[in-house]
Symmetry: D2
Subunit: 304 residues, 4 copies
């Protein structure tokens, strides 16, 4: 079956299903988005493009940028990152802080907030101008200079992010944050505020479907082995408390953000970005999850 | 590269590495095994066989049988199993009991002890003679009638398994165990005591590499979708607190047991069983983990 | 002010307050009690008696018997009990099991279920006929042979007490239970089923107001130092998650039971038993707590 | 027996016991104190003074000031404080943060760090110049103007107190901190840095032995009922994870600080301050705890 046909049929099917999610409200700036937006963009490793709906509208990618930050950190340094952050799923959200205490300030993985804060600390230590160099890195991956931070969203998150501040202080109490806490939180909130469209996201993540090579430039973003490992981490840790559900129903490595975006990778085949702002109870896009489940079921293809 | 060549080279390489693991001692009967045993067996979907070392020696498969119990339960019933057990990774072992309390007696997944106890309870409710029907099911999968329980190991585990008894009582206090506790614990300990060789294991699990069809009989064991989902659960939950590590380094769905066995699946390609009794600190075969890491790296092939 | 006048005035005052509690339902046999029962009995160290309402009606003393079991154990043995159970408050109920895991099977104190199970195990190891000797001990303390177990309540609790079974199995997994689990659970459920009236309770606990001496027989029940320490443990651990509230509002050491009874001690002055079956959200008698708060406030006397 | 004789005899006895504690090192400034200092001062409700050793040397009272902050807050406002902080013991230290999460940002009691931070927030909201008014309050209680903050200690604690910063951010994420986090942390660290001698401490806390009246001025500090309740909170929550041990062995309400000081109250009789800088594993003065245990045992007097 043609991907585009699958898109159209599933989109029609989804219209019958009530979108029971809620737009993220804990970051005030995010709550202003139109909840009915819906976009899809799939890019194959042979550079074929399939898209539908609001696939060219930018949205706040939020936690999806944690994968890009990890990728940049992986490209910069050797294995010491894994002394400071684990690669295991995080279990229930209710024990995020106790887990940090139990594990002496070593976050379980780089895709939960605690781990991404440590990755930010690593990047600040390795880059001269972290904010600038990160966004350049994303633009090159996406092959599109028209990507940037949203200062309003970053500021909104910074002012209300007391739980992240609690987390980074706890990590620092164990000596696993080297730089000034405010500096790291600023960078972290900037990363989360990046705005991209489904099209840009699908393109930027395609290197994870091509064993680490940027298909636009032909250059290695990360090694084959690292590319596989980033996919593995996304598979196990990309959806908070719903990682198992996503593996179980969709069967692809991926990452979601509270802006309603989801990126998923079929190694060797394609990357796909979906966007729908209403979130389910676990904080993942309600319609996005549903779409991807129907998609991999319909085309009969997952990594499992 | 030929699989067998890879086996030989890696085996030689492993001889240089000190096996720092410890044979499982908490079940007295398991501590009598020869710690230097080492076997590998790979079966491809085209029925090619590659093996090395003690691949025909039987050992206690322990938790590996949880996947077979789940498969049997999935073949018997419809989706209500997922009301009684989740599909999410379990996080740190330190909170196994508090997690059960927090989640009202619903185990996080069917591959941790708590979840397997619920699967046993489901099977007891569905089968006339659970012990007999389960072992028949395994024999048919493996195409080998010479597979059975080890009563000494089952009894040893039953007498010392106070933590499992704590767990099942807690689950029952939430109403998620229907049958007599002793009956379920007996069945659970029997399941764990099954003895198989690497060869038998690789054959028995091959249906997960062939989208759910038993390649020996041509019959469907479980549907395509269920086969994929069992692989997804193994990927996320098959190695206790080391699931991420296994996904990260090996990149295949799999399951380990404290007898030192590991089964891993490359969907569409092969199943592979490894056995080495010494366990690392997380309770997984030290040498088995190392072997599989080197194997998928050397042949440059994983699902990611 | 005369104690009896205080009783009458407070009882009148309480009639104005809606009794918002619920009779304990988790032990089926307990749910049959008349929820409107209300009795008080105070015995001074000079053997003066003050009472009101249903003070001669027997009820299930439940956890109150944990103090008597501890007293008997303290009279029998030397300090090794404190190697097996702590003297610290237990914090939130939500972490009772994780706390046992964290503290390697050592219950926080002898007045929570986990600790009382260990005390029962100690008594079984020290007494020839624990059930018989315990009830004799209580009869002598109360100066009344008409006290016994209620087999129906004991059986009801035994059949539904899966959480206690979970707890004792977990403790045994750490080696802190020496005897057969069923034997200990039977004894524990018998202890909880003891039936006494407010009058009998006030008399039986008077030794804790007289530095350890049974005022009826003049014999030492426990030493002065042990008497003070049992009071200290009651003060800190006698009301589950409401120990602070009770110390704060009532200001006396005491112990409650889910049968709706409360015993409290003013060392050097009196013991007082109150009974009202409806329980507040924390499992303590709603009206009993209120009565004691008004009583110590009105007579202007607490240990603080 | 005369109190002073008891002091001398116990001091002699303590010389035979090895002081196995360690001076607090986590606040760098505190580690400079002479570890062999040892002082005692007891003031009776009739204004008799008994003292020994370094009873006139000032030291950092640290957490002892939490009781004074609570007293000042209790004098200022009505009951709404108890909507923002509980009166229950806190259980194991290992779950301090998870407990805050579980209980939605309501600290368990005002004598743990989390609770004292909320009390500081209350005082900042009620006082024009919190730092100045608090120290004046303490000076009046002690009848001695020569009491002040130690800016070096306050600064040292402020710079290294990442765990307190984690805590206050977490509380704020639940809306239970009204003022700027830095403002509250500054005030909190100032409070902890107050320096007083045993003599000054015993005098300042005497109002808790006299039902709330300042015996020097004859004025009410807090009402009778509040005085009793502050004692109750100290009894249940004054010694972190060793509250039970202190109640059990000493039998008086009290509060310790990591500077090695302990204050204890015998309502109706006396207040007593002890100082010895080496701390036991739970963070309480090793020798101070031992001294008080021997003291109340020898004079045969505790509240129980």
């Amino acid at each position: 079956m043609n991907y585009f046909e699958a898109f159209s049929e599933i989109a029609a099917e989804l219209e019958e299903i009530e979108d029971r999610g809620q737009v993220a409200a804990y970051i005030p700036e995010l709550s202003h988005v139109d909840p009915d937006k819906f976009g899809i963009h799939l890019t194959t490793v042979k550079n074929q493009q399939y898209f539908l709906g609001d696939s060219n509208t930018k949205f706040s990618i939020q936690s999806i940028s944690k994968v890009l930050a990890l990728t940049l950190a992986r490209g910069l340094e050797e294995n010491y990152l894994w002394d400071r952050v684990g690669v295991e799923p995080s279990g229930s959200p209710f024990n995020s802080l106790v887990q940090l205490e139990y594990e002496q300030g070593i976050p379980r993985n780089p895709l939960i907030n605690a781990g991404a804060l440590v990755v930010c600390d690593v990047l600040i230590g390795s880059l001269k101008n972290p904010q600038q160099e990160f966004i350049e890195f994303v633009r090159i991956l996406a092959g599109d200079p028209d990507i940037g931070y949203c200062p309003r969203v970053a500021k909104s998150e910074r002012l209300t992010g007391h739980k992240n501040a609690a987390m980074i202080n706890l990590i620092k109490s164990y000596g696993n944050i080297n730089h000034d806490i405010d500096l790291v939180l600023d960078f972290y909130c900037d990363l989360c505020s990046v705005e991209m469209s489904c099209k840009q996201l699908a393109q930027a993540f395609l290197f994870l479907a091509t064993n680490g090579t940027n298909p636009l430039t032909g250059k290695e973003v990360v090694s084959v082995s690292r590319s596989k490992r980033i996919n593995a981490i996304m598979q196990l840790c990309g959806f908070y408390d719903e990682a198992g559900e996503f593996a179980f129903k969709v069967g692809l490595p991926g990452k979601s953000g509270v802006g309603g975006g989801i990126i998923a990778i079929h190694p060797g085949k394609y990357s796909i970005a979906v966007w729908s702002p209403r979130l389910n109870a676990k904080g993942n896009s309600f319609k996005g999850m549903k779409f991807l489940e129907l998609f991999t079921t319909r085309i009969g293809s997952s990594i499992f």
